[in-house]
Symmetry: D2
Subunit: 358 residues, 4 copies
């Protein structure tokens, strides 16, 4: 209600600031009896971790999750899983000089206005460091989805103007982790990496698009009329830091199309109703139809750039600011596991909700 929880049954409540003691959360609705594979969870955290490669921030946050409850002898008991990730690398003095400054296109001004107070250190609550809690919950959601045979994969499909023309079904999604930009097309990945490197050297940042695909979804997920499958998915993705747009199926391209082009005819594949095309993106009337779900999520270039900018401070004075230190020129490679985490949480929650009708 107050904005720190996601999901209805499979529910994450997160807490923590960038430079506080810890980031953590409580996960409710974990299936009793589920094996909690700590290596898998840690692997997911490593995918999100800064300092993985030359194109991401050199901070090594050494993110280790500590589970405090809800698991006994490696098995989920169905009670809430409390967890923390300690903030080892705080260095809050780096941020002393921007204590009162509203950095352009950051959340400094809006947090100050809304709450009358803010933790200025590294963005505080508005920092993407909070997403570490989502990756933990998402990893447990993925473990749950294995029981249902559902597969989720996300990849970087655009960095700046470098755009993958191939659609997800023309790509080999098993190659996503083969390069540091997490693009399954090796050639395009090369170009993206090169471009990000240029941007980094120019002390600038750049946006992009992540594509996310869900395969083997059960039929019937989604709760019309307001909690349609894609409405929940869209909210999940729009809640990720720096996201500016969401589309599924044909998305904005559907706006250019005619019904004769967009409609997906049904046919029978054995006992199973299938569609010959999948312009709908696996969702019709807000409910999954069993076809692949695919969606695009647009990220803005992050606001932290290492150049001088004009701005104001909280005393209403116009000042100039230059951020020093570490930054990610392009967040997309690290955002890939976050997108997957949100998708996994939505899937599990929707599967649970759909049990009502059983």
């Amino acid at each position: 209600m107050a904005g720190n929880s996601f999901g209805k049954f499979f529910k994450l409540t997160s807490f923590g600031e960038s430079h506080g003691k810890a980031v953590g959360g409580v996960i409710e609705g974990v299936m009793p009896g589920l094996e909690i594979d700590m290596d898998f969870i840690q692997g997911e955290l490593n995918r999100r971790r800064p300092g993985q490669s030359s194109i991401t921030t050199p901070r090594d946050e050494k993110d280790k999750v500590e589970i405090l409850s809800g698991v006994m002898d490696g098995i989920a008991t169905g009670t809430p899983i409390g967890f923390v990730i300690w903030n080892a690398d705080q260095r809050s003095k780096d941020y002393g000089n921007i204590k009162d400054v509203f950095r352009p296109s950051h959340a400094d001004y809006t947090y100050q206005s809304k709450y009358g107070i803010r933790d200025h250190r590294g963005g505080g609550r508005s920092s993407a460091r909070e997403t570490i809690a989502r990756v933990v919950a998402g990893a447990i959601a993925k473990l749950t989805l294995k029981k249902y045979g559902v597969d989720i994969a996300a990849y970087t499909s655009q960095v700046g103007n470098i755009k993958l023309e191939k659609t997800y079904n023309e790509l080999d999604l098993s190659k996503i982790e083969d390069n540091i930009v997490r693009c399954p097309d090796a050639e395009m990945a090369e170009k993206m990496i090169e471009y990000i490197d240029q941007v980094r050297q120019a002390k600038d940042s750049v946006g992009g698009v992540i594509t996310c695909v869900v395969k083997n979804s059960p039929v019937g997920l989604g709760e019309p009329v307001f909690d349609k499958f894609h409405a929940e998915m869209g909210k999940a993705m729009l809640g990720i830091n720096a996201v500016k747009g969401f589309e599924y199926g044909m998305g904005f391209k559907a706006g250019e199309m005619k019904g004769t082009e967009h409609n997906d005819e049904f046919y029978m594949e054995g006992e199973q109703v299938r569609t010959r095309t999948n312009k709908s993106g696996g969702v019709q009337g807000g409910i999954t139809n069993g076809e692949d779900i695919y969606m695009n999520i647009a990220f803005k270039p992050i606001a932290t750039i290492l150049k001088e900018q004009n701005t104001v401070n909280k005393h209403g004075e116009e000042v100039q600011t230059t951020v020093k230190g570490r930054h990610d020129p392009c967040v997309l490679p690290r955002a890939v596991p976050i997108v997957e985490a949100m998708a996994a949480m939505v899937m599990v929650d929707m599967i649970y909700l759909n049990k009502m009708y059983s």
Copy 2:
């Protein structure tokens, strides 16, 4: 929870099928003392009504809202407003021939799969007729927003490949209602209307984009980290029938941009913190900053086309189907008030939520 409610405090719970007795709803959280201007509400319903013009469906549903509670002597009492709109023009026999058929890209198959039963008459619950309840609630939300000086306007910015190049601030939004397609650029409107007419004659349908603008928003709306302003707005829009995509601010274009291009520098305008540019679209860190909020909503071409299509029926047989009768070749003109209604509901709900911090 079960998907028929929208909002936390200003909350609509809707009910009703296309060809049942009535569509209606319950609106909670209406400000006690608010004058309920029935003419205004009816005016909004008239904007959504079918049969307004040659380019919309010729059904005249004569939508009159009847308020059953929560209003005394024209004034809201703060108790829930129950209301109904009777379904005068049911003609359900038109639908007898498609009783067991899953129409391509409609919700027939997914509803049948999820619930094991469906009201096949005119799409039942999945019909856009349900949005009439949203327009009623949205009208009351708009009456509430007048107290706060907030303005909302939506318009058709794209029909098929006919796209407005001008941005919202290059247009005169007072001209939206000047033409039947609800596009404030008269010349482009002409082209859109002509195109829709062609599509109609070809028994086809066409998609498009609606742009929605919110001016004079209070600073501070939105509840991070999961219920960010734009995440709630996105969910609201994605919950409208036929919507496939949502973006705000630079949206997908932000994916192509650099930080130096996208960042909005702050300056002081008197006592007020302002931004020189507004690439952010009035939202930073998930919280409104007082600048204009602008967003695009992509609509697919509606699935109802008057041509023969291949499909299957609920007995697993492959059949052909041709829909007869009335249809909207392009829903965008009628969707404009629906988009505004959802935006208005989100705004009021967010304003209420923000009172927590007062």
Copy 3:
């Protein structure tokens, strides 16, 4: 959220004032495929209806429910069931003289204070007439519970100082409807009726206790730690007009007991774990254990008495008031179906919630 909804999945959102056009509601989460037996629903409404007998109010409200959605050919489709009960017998002029007066122990003053406005006619939203919506939803919940073999019965166990000493399992619950006070002990019923008649002649009112029993509950209902089975049940009952107390199992008597007296030893009955005694009232640790659930609900004497009382009006003047007209000297007989309705709704909701773990 705003207080007009009950339940999470099997959810009623009610609307309506005593003297408005109608009372009604929206019921979500009705099992698709459920046969909606209108005669049964009407029968439940008749049990709640005023004017049933000499000891209840002589108003004949002729409460007929009209279902507007969610049901096709008598079968629930899984979409929300909207319904109204028209207020035939409004006679609001009876209430003109108390327009500005705060009647002692009514909700007049508190509604006026909270909302700044109130519908004074017959108590408006605070009138027990609203419970008619609960009886409709409760009837549908009962129809659902038949699928699960769950039985619910409530009865008047106390009127003033006339108290049934026998516990529920010493009574024949099939005799509840045999008399107008709804007490299954014929002799005690006689005394209660006589006493209520005296109270009525004295222009006074009297309180009492209703006992509610749920048999054949599934094991495992309830969501600790905050949404324990009995916590949800308690909230349900305390939300009924005029209720002042709730207890289950030994209730307040448990406060006098020792562990050796109160503990219920387990034993095996075939494959089934059972308890030899049932002091726990069918709930342990907030979760049902399959034994009978029994609870008591205390009702105050209703505030409407036909005697002159001192009070104040909304202008801050001390005045005297005498209510004229019709009143119920004792609401308990009519509250019996309301108690059952709330219990039924809680049971269905809890059964749904428990499906999460399947």
Copy 4:
């Protein structure tokens, strides 16, 4: 939703088992700018802590709260407060012998049935150790209430058959902490302590009643018709371990009364509407009227007794069990701060909700 959260705006989500690593939680909706007085919070924890006196369990859990987020320089920032209390004294081997046994009137059987797995060590999630998280949140709620001038006090008013005849307004509530049983009547406290000591020596346990009083409540709290003030308060109290009943105002005694006895006449005290009597207990129509709120909460004797009992184990075998070690013969003295904590949380949440109408 899944039962581990309490409150809508001032919301606690708790986690943790008796013998896991830690108990903790996340508190949302803490007023930004609130001074978080750690000594006060610790003082509240000390009141709940075991081993305080000869009549409570001799375990010294040394409960120290560690705050992980949401507070900067001692001031709440409005972001969620994550916290943990480490479980120092785990000794889980004490519980090895009851691993598979369902202890009579504990939650062992119901947890096993619901989840198919349970943490048997010390009751796991069903242990009252979880209430430590409530005391932390309650302490922060109390700090918030100081801003509103609201006072909350609870005390032991009954232990077994030893019952305080004096009502709350005949007692000096400043003396609650003067004795180890937390009863403000010194003479009765003496008797209670003596009685508990006898019970302890008899290896038995005993129940009782806690009375809770809220003074200086704002007028207007509560959200009819389902979320009435006392319905929320009742749910809060019934969610505390071992609670079997809740009443407010005259409670069950109201069932014996007539309207002429129970009605509270209004009068003017200066500008303020007051009632001459307060049988209503400060709540009318589910909304506070500004008079004192008083309520009773009944506790059963706790199930842990040091005597041999018959029971069954999870293999369906009938066995005998004797709990060894430490136990509380009477939980009431330690439950007093828990009752206050729940009352404080409800008050803050209701105050926030009521801001909607401002």
